[in-house]
Amino acid sequence: MARPAGIFDIRYEQDIAVVRTMPQWITLGLFLIFLVVLPQLFPDRYFLNIINIIMIMIISVHGLNILTGFAGQISAGHAAFMGVGAYACASFMTFWGLSFWLSLPLAGLTAGLVGILFGLPSLRLKGFYLAMATIAAQFIITAFFLHFKPEIFGGGTGMSLEPIRLGNIVFDTQDNLYYMIMPFAVIMTYFAQNLVRSRMGRAFVAIRDNDLAAEIMGISLFGYKLRAFFIGCFFAGISGCLYIAFMRTIRPDQFSLMDSIWMLGIIIIGGMGSIFGGILGTIFIKLLDEIVLVLTPFLGSVLPRELASRISASMALVVFGLVVVLFLILEPRGLAHQWEILKGRFRHWPFTYGH
């Protein structure tokens, strides 16, 4: 890891620290303060709504990034695992009467276990075959929620929840929800960032780069692939649970194949195998979404009616497709790589060389 000149690690604790230098501590502190006061800075509630969705998505994207970006197991069914978390959370609360705070980790565990179940083929399947097995998981899980026991899962209308409470606080406004979701996003990001540089994270990277070589070096492929599936889907489950606390109602069609593909697109755009990249990618895609939403009525007022309605129907598809295609061709390492280049420029300024 690159460090400014004159910064040396003289103790082991320094070497393994996440935050190494004083400026980094200050930036981190300022950033956390910024996160805490953010609702006060932006009085627009719609904006806060977007931030909340981004935070929930970020947790899920971290899971997919660990599974696909680090461990190399392509999952095209991540939204379905998010759905498992959401449905598990709602079922625990509705039918077992558990509190939300107990359902949250349980929902994460449930999603993780379902992830292990669908990760089982990963020992024998690789690459495309595994990606297809996860697409199969996507269809099977959403069909399960749609058709299995409508009296429990509500079929096409889905499930709904009362607002979440903690003591006297009711999480029903965007502000309150923000303060509930934000700490989870921060904790899960910290957890993900720490995990990928641990023994397990390095094992994941080894498996991604060459699984046979990793196995010969003593990494248990079966164990670590399943662990990757468990952790990735655990993140998805937590995210799904927060999602239902945020939306209060869920339907099976909110966790479609399209959403899974969007998440894969996010980690490509952000940068595979970079936790920071996952955050950048989520923000980028979500903002793009909003731009499309704003642009559509504008086009409707400028263009003739027939053309405008066609364009507004197809805009999201075209924009998303185009962005992914362009990123894959022009910057396959994603926004995180561009960020590194930018940092390098500053570090070496006024010289143009460096990296």
């Binding site: 075959y129 097995a133 697409i135 010969i216 295609v325």
Partner: protein
């Protein structure tokens, strides 16, 4: 009994369609190692093009123009978007074809809108009848085309020089390049063949259900067909297509339509658990 026969018949029709889509995917995969998720979208564009072009230019010229336009689209896709990805990890090509699918779907939504387009009637409407059972001519032709197509491709891959070159490319890009095979040409040719297959499938799909932008979702259902048979096997694509088509039709008929959509994927998971490379796929031995 009558119902069973009817379900089997519609299963054969669906199976023939899936087989044609799966064949296109397999041919591209065999030589380029790219799984073409956009094959269903090519099919959808071919139907829409066929419907509109044959209306303006008449059936024969319209069909010729359609096959040319579809091939051109496939050629451009390969040249502009997939060629730069050679050497990139698997997920890049995977996401690329998915994103291309979205682009094509969005593009045709922009050009054609959400309407249903009437396809010219190419098959005589009078059904074959065996006793009291009537079989639509299109179904019979679909089955015949798949059978002939299978024979042609088996012969092509075994006898023709180009077919042998394509098999060599599938085996190893570098070695075949050093043997004097233009690997990039092979890539283009595979995509053109897949486009022509998409056009052939579009004739049957168009005659039965007309042109609509949601036709592309058939491509999604061809995925289990390809993988059940094995990604690199022509025989597998045909057999897989019919397995999935018959299963879907029978389950839809006797149980429920929603289950019919899922059953192919459940079968896919089971087959992959037992035979990871599909029924006829080539088992590759890996070395470090």
């Amino acid at each position: 009994m009558y119902f069973l026969f009817y379900f089997l018949l519609s299963g054969v029709y669906l199976g023939a369609l899936y087989s044609m889509i799966a064949l296109g995917i397999v041919i591209i995969y065999k030589s380029t190692k790219v799984f073409n998720f956009a094959q269903g979208h090519l099919l959808m564009v071919a139907v829409l093009l066929g419907a509109t072009l044959s209306q303006t230019f008449g059936i024969i010229i319209g069909m010729v123009l359609t096959v040319a336009a579809t091939a051109l689209i496939a050629l451009l896709l390969e040249r502009l978007t997939l060629r730069p990805l050679i050497g990139q990890p698997l997920i890049a090509a995977l996401l690329m074809t998915i994103a291309l699918g979205y682009l094509i779907e969005g593009g045709s939504l922009m050009v054609w809108g959400e309407g249903l387009y009437r396809y010219p009637e190419l098959f005589p409407t009078e059904p074959f009848s065996i006793g009291s059972i009537a079989i639509e001519q299109g179904v019979v032709w679909a089955f015949v085309v798949v059978a002939v197509g299978f024979a042609v491709f088996v012969l092509f891959y075994q006898k023709a020089v180009l077919g042998k070159a394509m098999r060599a490319t599938a085996e190893d890009h570098q070695v075949s390049q050093s043997m004097g095979i233009r690997v990039t040409h092979i890539f283009s040719i595979s995509w053109v063949i897949a486009a022509v297959l998409a056009f052939v499938a579009s004739i049957f799909l168009g005659s039965f259900s007309g042109g609509h932008y949601l036709n592309s979702h058939l491509g999604l259902k061809a995925i289990p067909a390809v993988l059940v048979g094995g990604l690199d096997s022509i025989r597998g694509a045909i057999v897989g297509g019919f397995i999935v088509g018959l299963l879907e039709s029978l389950v839809t008929g006797y149980m429920s339509g929603e289950l019919g959509e899922v059953v192919p994927f459940i079968v896919l998971l089971i087959v992959l658990m037992i035979k990871p490379y599909g029924l006829f796929g080539l088992v590759r031995i890996e070395r470090i």
